[in-house]
């Protein structure tokens, strides 16, 4: 029963990892910007939700809406006013990464200053586990996490496949120069990628605040998972990032069966390392003809 419990926990955590990783992968795939501050987006939305819902007692849909608006604004402002100027000055991939890393550190410290560096969580009846089978405890948030992840992923696939902006995002990931030749502004399409990718962290951040809880440094861990899932899933593959996020969540939890909890993070690195050595293209990495 312990094994089944760990698998169910892993699926719940993995679904949220998958959502976050898909957001990062979408941004990285479309813009080639290593958006390290994606973890900061997660932290911002989680803490905004926590503050509005748990502290100010705002109705939860409004708290989620506010988190969505702020996190989209954060992503768009970063793209326009941090990455944009660096790119205009012919800044390299590494320069942009350092800029993004700097922003993430500032956000982490701001959150720590305002909310403290301790552990917090949003109390909710939905996160209370009930014994569904003898010795097996499942909280409603587990089901909500899985359903939310599936709905978001399907909606994203439909958006990318059936809307003009979605097709433009996929085109941008292949050739920004050609996007311009078509008559579109690559920078505007890039901004859409940041808005959408940032928005995808909100469900994961809200559910994480209700389940495993938050601390000011959560952004760093989110980034680790996002990067690992993007590489394991295959750079540029959203389906790969989602599957890899799920795999990492399950693997981390299964590790608890035999190892101490402090080893669970090492499992992520181990899987990442194994893929880099044995299958660098990841799950769904593909060679695209040019």
């Amino acid at each position: 029963m312990l094994l089944l419990q760990l698998i169910i926990n892993g699926i719940q955590v993995g679904a949220l990892y998958g959502l976050t990783a898909v957001g990062f992968s979408l941004i990285f795939g479309a813009t080639k910007i290593f958006h390290f501050a994606h973890g900061a987006s997660f932290a911002i939305s989680a803490y905004v939700f926590y503050y509005l819902y748990a502290v100010l007692l705002v109705w939860w849909p409004f708290a989620i809406l506010a988190a969505c608006i702020l996190v989209v604004l954060f992503g768009v402002v970063l793209d326009r006013y941090v990455y944009g100027p660096i790119q205009s000055a012919d800044g390299s991939f590494f320069t942009i990464f350092v800029g993004s890393f700097g922003v993430a550190v500032v956000i982490q410290n701001l959150i720590g200053t305002v909310f403290g560096r301790g552990f917090i969580s949003v109390p909710s009846a939905l996160s209370r586990s009930v014994e569904t089978l003898p010795g097996l405890y499942v909280a409603p948030t587990a089901g909500i996490a899985v359903v939310t992840a599936v709905v978001c992923f399907v909606a994203l696939q439909l958006f990318l496949g059936r809307t003009n902006i979605g097709i433009a995002l996929r085109a941008l990931s292949e050739s920004p120069a050609l996007v311009r030749t078509f008559g579109l502004n690559p920078k505007a399409v890039s901004t859409c990628a940041f808005a959408l990718g940032s928005l995808l962290v909100v469900p994961a951040a809200v559910l994480t605040s209700m389940t495993s809880g938050l601390n000011a440094a959560i952004g760093g861990r989110v980034m680790l998972i996002s990067v690992a899932a993007t590489i394991v899933g295959g750079v540029g593959s959203l389906r790969g990032a989602a599957c890899a996020g799920l795999l990492l969540g399950i693997a981390e939890n299964l590790a608890l069966w035999r190892f101490d909890p402090q080893w669970s993070e090492a499992v992520t690195f181990l899987i990442l390392f194994a893929f880099i050595v044995l299958r660098p293209s990841g799950f769904f990495g593909r060679v695209v003809t040019s």
Partner: protein, 237 residues
Amino acid sequence: MTDALISVDNLRVGYGGRVVLDDISLQIRKNEVLCLVGHNGAGKSTLMNALFGVVTRQGGEISVDGQRLHQPEPKKMAALGIGLVPEGRGIFPGLTVDEIFQLAMWATGVPQRERPERIEWVMSILPRIKTFHARRAGTLSGGQQQMVSIARALLSRPRCLLMDEPSIGLAPKLFQDLLQPIRQLQQQLGLSILLVEQNVKEAFKISDRVLVMRSGAIIHETSPEALADNKVLMQFY
């Protein structure tokens, strides 16, 4: 000249301090095929990209229908009836042909209600596209990709097509097959075409005028027949 669709005066373009186009002046007249020839690196593609606003000019003027353009850019040029078929196919390998068409029409502001009719129109000009329109462009042959690229440019119903080396990677027979409908369309609709082409033998068959470029400058203007007979100029392409 009154029948000029596009006029270029003293155009200058450079990259990183290096002058690529120097003092270029030319006119693309209505209802003509103007062929641009020259060695690799002569500046032909840069000229085409500067005309479409993909490359920023450093000096000079570009006018369409006698109206001077402050800053040409692809969307504006498409709205003015100019279409670019860029070098190297100009397709997104991961998108289907239908998606490429949808994106092109959205980008150039073709109204939603007119889009099915536009697609039908280009498929009547290049009917073979009907057999592979649902496939990813990256899985198509070179000729099919070039067809898609031309069809994509035609979707905005341009008055002028800028075609950059459409024969690259194509068998000569395939290129001939591709030029035929283009020539017919040009004559039917009174299209203007600026054609950069290495395969001059085929290009001259449909050209009305030829400009010879060398080291970023236009050094000669002539007719295709006269150039074919000029052994001194023939060395430049």
